[in-house]
Amino acid sequence: MNQLLRFLIVILPILILIFFAKVLLVEEEINFANFEAKNFPEFQLNDLSGNPVEAESLNGIKLVNVWASWCITCLVEHPFLTKLSNNDIEIIGLNYKDNDAKANAWLEKHGNPYLFSMYDPRGDLAFDLGVTGAPESYLLINNKVVGHIQGEMNQSKWETIFLPLIQKAKRSS
C-alpha cells in the first residue's frame, strides 16, 4: 500500500506534466501551420434582426468573428474588436450556438462592433467553416478565407497574422 502511494506521489505529477507539455506543443504546431486559402462556404442564414444575409455582403476585405453571449473570452476581445471596427476593418459577427434574444441583449449591453451578425444557432455555417469554439476570427478577402485565428483576437495577433495578409492582398491588386 505504502509502496503504491509513494509511486503515485511521483508518477501522477509527471503524467500531468507530460500532458500539459503535449498540449502546449500541439498548440504551437497549429499556430505556425500555413493556412491554405479556401472559398467561404455557402450558407443560408438570417442576421440577428431576422433579415436574410446576402452572400455579396461578404465581398471585399472583411473580418468574420465567431462569438456568443455565453463566451467569456469574447468579452475580453470585445474592446479590441470595437477599436478595429472604428478604423481598420469591417467586422461581421457569426453568432454561434446562441439564442438570439440573449445575443441581442449582449450586444446592447456591451456595444456592437459588428456590421451585422449572422445567426447560426445550430452551428451549420460554423461547421462548414471549421469553427472549434468561440471566439475565432477569419479573414476574408473577396469571399476567400485567407486567415484564421483561434481564441482571443488582440493587437499582436492582428499585427502579426492578419495585417500582413491584408497588406499583401492590397499590394497585389
Binding site: R6, F19, F20, L24, I72, L75, P79, E108, K157
Partner: protein, 632 residues
C-alpha cells in the same frame, strides 16, 4: 540609462544566486565550514536587495514616462495620474511577473533572516529558496523581459493602461493575491529542507506556522477583493464565475486552509504529520500551476495574458522540476515518517483528517474541472466547457459533509473518542433549528432548488451550532476558541449568503426613452428614466443616465454611466449600485436603440455584501488566532 542599470541589477541578482547554489552544491562535499553558511546568507541577502533596487528603479522609469522601454510604452501614458503609472506596471504579463518575483524575494529574505544563525535547516531552506528565485528571475529575463527597449527610437506617447484596469482595485487586488501565492514558498522550502535533512526529531511546525497564517490572510483578501472588484467595479454582475483563473486561485486557498487545520493537529498530537507536509508542498505547487495556467495561455480566460508557448514550456518545466523535487523527497522519506500512533475514531484528529480528505477532494474536483476540457480536446478534438452546474453539483454534498463535521468536531477531544451522548446533544438543536428555518425560508420565498437548499442548510447548521456555543460561553463560562469560532461563522455565513443569493436574485432587461417610466414588478414599483447627459472628463467622455426608482416604497436615485476612453477608444460600462443590508440594486446602461430609447439591465442581488463580510470574518478569525498566545 536607468533602464540599463535596473536591468543590470536584476542580472547581477541572477549571478549572485547562481553563486550561492554552485558554492554550496560543489563545495559542501568537503567538510562543512561554519563560515560557508554566513557567506551564503550574505550573498543571498545581497541578491534580494539587488532585486528590490532594480524594481524600485523600474517604478521610477514608469513614473518618469520612459517610453523607450517597450513594456512601459505599451501599458502606460503620460496623461495618467502617478498612481496609475505605478499600477500599470502590473497590468500585464512582464511587469506582474516582476512584482511576483519581488514578493517572492521579500518573503524569502524575511524568513531566512528570521531563522536562528545555527538553525539546522537554514542552509537547505536557503538553497531551495535561491533555486526558486533564480528560476523565476531567469524566466523573467529570458522569456518576458520587461526592460526591453524600443530601438533605435522610443515612442513619444504610451499606449495607455487598459481602462478596465484603471481602477484603484488594481493597486491592491493583484499584489494581495501574489503576496498570498508566493508566501507559501516558505512552507514549501522549509518542509523540503526538513525532509532532505532527515532528522525527524526536529520540531518544524512552529517555525512556519505564523508565516503560513499571514500568507493565508493575503490569499483570502486577494481572492475576495478580486470578486468584489468584478462585481462592484467591472460590472460583471456577479461575484464568482468558476472561471479557470478563479479556480486556480481557489485550489491553493483550499490546500492552505487544509494545511493550517492539519498543522494544528500534527503539532498537538504527533499524528497527521505526513498529511501536513504533503499539503504544505501542495499549496505552492498549486500556486505554480496557477501561474502556468494564467501565463501560458493554455486556457482562454478573462485573466489570461499573452498566448506564448515558449513561456508556457519554461514555466511548466521549471514548476514541474521543483514540485517533483519536493514530492520525490517526500515519497522517499514516507516510510520513515509514518507515525506508529493510530488516530482514534471520533477524536479531534479524526475529524481534522476528514477535513483534509474533504479539502483534497474539492481540490481534485476543481483540478478536473479545469483540465477536463483540455483532456477531451486532446483526445477527440472537440471543445467542451465546464461551468457552474458542474461545480455546484460537486460542491453541495461536500459542503454539507463539511458543515456536519464542523458542527460536531468542535467539541471533540484530542486522542479520545467522542461519546454518543455529547454528539447527540451538540447536533440535535442546530439540526432542528436549521430544518425549521429552511422550511420558513421556503414558505417565504416559494422557490425551491435542491442544491441551494443544501447550501442554506449547511450554512445554518454551522451558524446555529456556534450560536449555542456562544450562549454556553456567556452563561456557563464554557471555553470557546474565538479565532476558530469567528472564522467558521464566516464560513457558515458564506454558504448561507451564496445559496440565498442564488435563489433570490433576478435580472430584468428594460428598454426606455428619456422621460418614460414603467413598473417592473411588485418590488420595483416604478422605474423612471429622468434624463441623460454627456459629460467630459480628463481622458474620457461620459454618458450618464439619471434614473429614479420606487423600490419597496423607497425612492432611490441611480446614475449608470458609459465611458469612452480617448486613447484606446475603448468603451466601459460603470454600473450604478444602491446597496442595502439585504440586497443590492444593480443597474447597467446599455446602448441607444434606433428609436432613441436606451436599454438597461436591472439586477436585484440578495445577500451579496454578506459574501465579502463572511470573507472578512474568516480573515478576522485568522488574525485572532495569530495574536492569541500559544496556539501550538
Amino acid at each position: 540609462m536607468i533602464g540599463e542599470i535596473s536591468h543590470f541589477l536584476s542580472l547581477s541578482a541572477v549571478v549572485l544566486l547562481s553563486l550561492v547554489l554552485i558554492f554550496n552544491l560543489f563545495f559542501s562535499l568537503n567538510k562543512f565550514h561554519p563560515n560557508q553558511l554566513i557567506l551564503s546568507v550574505r550573498l543571498f541577502n545581497q541578491a534580494c536587495w539587488l532585486v528590490f533596487i532594480s524594481f524600485g528603479m523600474y517604478v521610477y522609469l514608469a513614473i518618469s514616462d520612459d517610453f523607450s522601454i517597450a513594456y512601459i510604452a505599451s501599458h502606460s501614458n503620460s496623461q495618467l495620474p502617478i498612481f496609475y503609472k505605478v499600477t500599470s506596471i502590473w497590468s500585464a504579463h512582464e511587469g506582474s511577473m516582476f512584482l511576483w518575483i519581488v514578493f517572492l524575494t521579500a518573503w524569502s529574505i524575511l524568513f531566512i533572516n528570521s531563522l536562528d544563525k545555527d538553525h539546522p535547516l537554514k542552509k537547505l531552506t536557503l538553497l531551495m529558496l535561491s533555486l526558486i528565485i533564480l528560476g523565476f528571475l531567469l524566466f523573467l529575463l529570458l522569456t518576458s523581459n520587461p526592460f526591453e527597449r524600443i530601438l533605435p527610437f522610443g515612442v513619444i506617447e504610451g499606449a495607455d493602461i487598459n481602462p478596465v484596469l484603471q481602477d484603484p482595485a488594481l493597486a491592491i487586488h493583484p499584489p494581495m493575491l501574489y503576496l498570498g501565492y508566493v508566501g507559501f514558498v516558505i512552507s514549501f522550502s522549509f518542509i523540503s529542507a526538513y525532509l532532505l535533512n532527515g532528522d525527524f526529531e526536529l520540531q518544524w511546525e512552529k517555525d512556519i506556522k505564523n508565516w503560513s497564517f499571514v500568507a493565508w490572510i493575503f490569499l483570502t483578501i486577494g481572492i475576495a477583493l478580486g470578486s468584489w472588484w468584478a462585481y462592484y467595479e467591472l460590472g460583471w454582475g456577479g461575484y464568482w464565475f468558476w472561471d479557470p483563473v478563479e479556480n486556480v486561485a481557489l485550489m491553493p486557498w483550499l490546500a492552505a486552509t487544509a494545511f493550517m487545520h492539519s498543522l494544528f493537529a500534527s503539532s498537538k498530537s504527533d499524528v497527521l504529520k505526513t498529511w501536513t507536509m504533503f499539503l504544505g508542498i501542495l499549496i505552492f505547487a498549486l500556486s505554480l500551476f496557477g501561474a502556468f495556467i494564467v501565463r501560458s495561455g493554455i486556457i482562454d480566460s478573462v485573466h489570461s495574458f499573452a498566448n506564448d508557448p515558449e513561456r508556457g514550456l519554461y514555466l511548466l518545466g521549471f514548476s514541474g522540476l521543483i514540485t517533483l523535487l519536493a514530492l520525490s523527497i517526500f515519497a522517499y522519506r514516507l516510510p520513515a515518517l509514518n507515525s506508529s500512533k493510530l488516530v482514534v475514531t471520533g477524536s479531534k484528529e479524526s475529524f481534522l483528517s476528514m477535513n483534509n480528505i474533504l479539502m483534497v477532494t474539492s481540490i481534485f474536483s476543481i483540478f478536473l474541472g479545469v483540465t477536463y476540457p483540455l483532456i477531451i480536446e486532446s483526445i477527440s478534438g472537440e471543445k467542451i466547457s465546464i461551468g457552474p452546474p458542474y461545480y455546484n453539483t460537486i460542491f453541495s454534498p461536500l459542503i454539507l459533509i463539511a458543515a456536519v463535521f464542523i458542527m460536531i468536531s468542535v467539541d471533540a477531544l484530542w486522542q479520545r473518542s467522542m461519546s454518543l451522548r455529547v454528539l447527540f446533544v451538540t447536533a440535535t438543536a442546530p439540526t432542528l433549528l436549521s430544518l425549521l428555518s429552511m422550511f420558513l425560508i421556503w414558505r417565504a420565498t416559494a422557490v425551491f432548488s435542491i442544491l441551494a437548499y443544501i447550501g442554506i442548510f449547511s450554512g445554518l447548521l454551522i451558524l446555529f451550532s456556534y450560536l449555542f456555543r456562544t450562549i454556553n460561553n456567556v452563561f456557563n463560562k464554557k471555553y470557546i476558541n474565538k479565532g476558530s469560532a469567528v472564522a467558521h461563522v464566516g464560513l457558515g455565513l458564506l454558504f448561507f449568503a451564496v445559496s440565498m443569493n442564488s435563489i433570490l436574485s433576478y435580472e430584468k432587461n428594460l428598454n426606455l426613452a428619456p422621460g418614460q417610466s414603467i413598473s417592473v414588478n411588485e418590488s420595483v414599483q416604478e422605474f423612471s428614466f429622468d434624463d441623460i447627459r454627456v459629460l467630459k472628463a480628463s481622458n474620457h467622455d461620459v454618458i450618464s443616465a439619471e434614473i429614479s426608482l420606487m423600490h419597496d416604497d423607497r425612492e432611490i436615485f441611480l446614475n449608470p454611466q458609459k465611458r469612452k476612453y480617448a486613447t484606446r477608444g475603448q468603451i466601459t460600462s460603470e454600473s450604478a449600485i444602491h446597496a442595502s443590508i439585504l440586497k443590492d440594486t444593480y443597474l447597467t446602461i446599455g446602448d441607444q436603440l434606433d428609436n432613441g430609447s436606451w436599454t438597461f439591465s436591472l439586477k436585484i442581488n440578495y445577500f451579496i455584501k454578506w459574501i465579502w463580510f463572511s470573507a472578512a470574518l474568516m480573515v478576522l478569525g485568522m488574525l485572532l488566532t495569530i495574536f492569541k498566545k500559544k496556539v501550538l
